[in-house]
């Protein structure tokens, strides 16, 4: 058990070393979300009327935080697919290390990357007028939830990477799933404008529940839609936690099994 933890941390360290050796990756993975913040804030911010004191950016930031965290699963998946293809996984599997170390190490590494990206984004948000009103503890717990959500999602990335095995394909596939998921939600616009059926989908969408939970924790009253009056829109935090557990209960065993049986 002690070895399993050290082994995982060595793999995590490898990922950090990769970032140090190829700093471009880190730069671009932070530029993109910052660009989203600026675009949405200044392009849509003026035309979406929210009635929210402090303006659209207050509602936008939780949405963009969740979106960014969800997008990192593509990096998890493509990184792993790349390792598979290059035969690096074979080398790891031929070493006397814990079987779980490689995948656990990677999910931890992705979480560390998420921390960094979230800090940069929070700074960018602050610069364009984002001012959470809740207590420090509540704001802090919002970020912890965001990281937990990212961690849970990274297991779907692990599974996708092991299953698809081609970095470019899996990156496209991940994007095809996460992109509509983040937009078919309350993240950027009220769900009330959608057709009734879509409103239900949007409100049960884990992205929406996470965004709503974060808005609450950042001290917002306005839930940006939620007319369908569904359970998730009234209990966003509970539903989000339920989703995270569900994702991990399904994808951790699936990924570990896939990893054990993986052989080119």
């Amino acid at each position: 058990m002690k070895n399993a933890i050290t082994d995982s941390l060595i793999i995590t360290k490898r990922q950090l070393l990769q970032l140090a050796r190829v700093p471009e990756v880190l730069i671009f993975s932070t530029i993109q979300p910052v660009m989203f913040v600026l675009l949405f804030r200044f392009v849509f911010g003026g035309s979406i009327s929210t009635g929210q004191p402090g303006g659209y950016v207050q509602l936008l930031m939780p949405g963009i935080f969740v979106q960014t965290v969800a997008f990192t699963l593509a990096a998890t998946a493509s990184g792993l697919a790349e390792d598979m293809k290059k035969g690096l996984i074979d080398r790891f599997r031929s070493l006397p290390i814990a079987r779980s170390a490689l995948v656990v190490g990677r999910t931890l590494g992705d979480s560390l990357l998420n921390i960094l990206v979230l800090i940069v984004m929070a700074g960018a948000g602050y610069a364009v007028g984002w001012r959470p009103t809740a207590s420090v503890l509540s704001i802090f717990s919002a970020f912890v939830f965001l990281l937990m959500f990212g961690y849970a999602l990274s297991w779907t990335g692990i599974y996708a990477g092991l299953a698809v095995r081609d970095a470019r394909t899996v990156q496209n596939v991940s994007f095809l799933i996460t992109f509509p998921m983040t937009f078919l939600s309350n993240a950027f616009a009220p769900t009330t404008g959608m057709p009734k059926a879509l409103q239900y989908v949007a409100e049960w969408n884990p992205v929406s529940t996470m965004v709503a939970a974060c808005r609450q924790l950042f001290g917002l009253e306005n839930q940006f839609g939620a007319t369908a009056n569904s359970f998730p829109s009234q209990h966003p935090l509970t539903t989000s936690i339920f989703y995270m557990i569900l994702i991990m209960v399904i994808f951790i065993p699936l990924s570990v099994r896939k990893y054990k049986n993986s052989s080119n």
């Binding site: 490898r14 070393l17 050796r21 290059k86 035969g87 690096l88 074979d90 080398r91 031929s94």
Partner: protein, 317 residues
């Protein structure tokens, strides 16, 4: 003592449609080099993957250093080194980063990992490029680093899966020198290759495999003998071919083979037959353009064992 034993290994893919291994058995004596020789798709990589605990066979048994690879894979992993067809190192990291990381994963501890990494870099002439990312390495350097990574803890048994595939002649030569050094150090080595020359150069024994089975086994010399001993090859002017064939036919041990102007004749007496042929041809006033004794190459071995050339199969695959 046998360091590697594989018994009746069977492995099928796609629900039995593709038979990768079809009752394959082999073994390697401790401290020797066995080369598994065969064309692409013959089952070489599958064999190595099973022995290196990466793959489970459908049936059959295998052990490495006396330990069952199927029942006790964790123990086996502590004793083996594996270097695959693709250079399995992290390309974004430097050579130094890679070796230190693998050292840590072998639980060597930080100081020992660094020491070992530096020793190996030195030994494989990579010290100068140690701080450069692998991406910038040549094919040969990558393979050497990959090999270094499989030697972090002195392995009892080393598996090298096509260590020189894709390398240019110089890279191949360098790799051979490195492997010959290792062999002198007494490691037990199982090496797969599709290069006949490579097996000839590096191995004590050769197992020829085709369609998932060992079809012949022995030293390079023994295999060559199995195909038939020496042959006399004589090239003459077109006009002389009929007369020359008749003369050589009398000296030959069995049926000769005649091309447009080349005669190939199996002989049992080696240089004596060569002298006889020269004398007889001279008496008949025939002056050969070329004459010589040829021992069969491993290409000939493959052709006579499988009925097809190793190279042809490669082109198909």
């Amino acid at each position: 003592m046998k360091s590697v034993i594989a018994e009746h290994l069977v492995k099928t893919y796609r629900k039995g449609e593709v038979k990768a291994l079809d009752d394959l058995s082999l073994d390697v004596e401790e401290g020797t080099v066995l080369s598994v020789l065969g064309p692409n798709g013959a089952g070489k990589t599958t064999t190595v993957r099973i022995l290196a605990t990466l793959l489970k066979p459908d049936s059959g048994n295998a052990s490495v250093a006396g330990i069952d690879v199927i029942k006790n894979p964790d123990k086996v992993r502590e004793l083996i080194g594996l270097s695959g067809q693709y250079a399995a190192v992290d390309e974004t990291l430097t050579g130094w980063d890679n070796l230190v990381m693998f050292g840590r994963l072998y639980h060597l501890g930080k100081t020992a990992s660094i020491k070992r990494a530096e020793d190996l870099l030195e030994r494989f002439s990579l010290t100068e490029s140690a701080r450069r990312p692998i991406k910038t390495y040549s094919g040969g350097m990558r393979r050497r680093l990959d090999l270094a990574a499989s030697l972090i803890v002195q392995p009892r048994v080393l598996f090298l899966d096509e260590p020189t595939t894709g390398l240019d002649p110089r890279g191949r030569q360098e790799m051979w020198e490195v492997i010959q050094e290792l062999v002198k150090g007494g490691v037990t080595l199982l090496l797969t290759t599709q290069y006949l020359e490579e097996a000839d150069q590096l191995a004590d024994e050769i197992a020829v495999i085709d369609h998932g089975k060992v079809i012949a086994r022995g030293t390079s010399d023994a295999l060559k003998k199995q195909v038939g001993g020496e042959r006399l090859e004589i090239t003459v002017e077109n006009a002389d071919i009929a007369k020359a064939s008749e003369i050589v036919g009398r000296i030959s041990a069995s049926a000769i083979h005649v091309d447009i102007r080349t005669i190939s004749a199996p002989v049992l007496t080696g240089s004596v037959a060569l002298m006889d042929a020269l004398r007889a041809l001279d008496e008949a006033k025939i002056h050969p353009l070329d004459i010589g004794l040829k021992r069969p190459s491993l290409d000939d071995v493959f052709l006579s064992l499988t009925g097809h050339k190793a190279e042809e199969e490669q082109a198909k695959a």
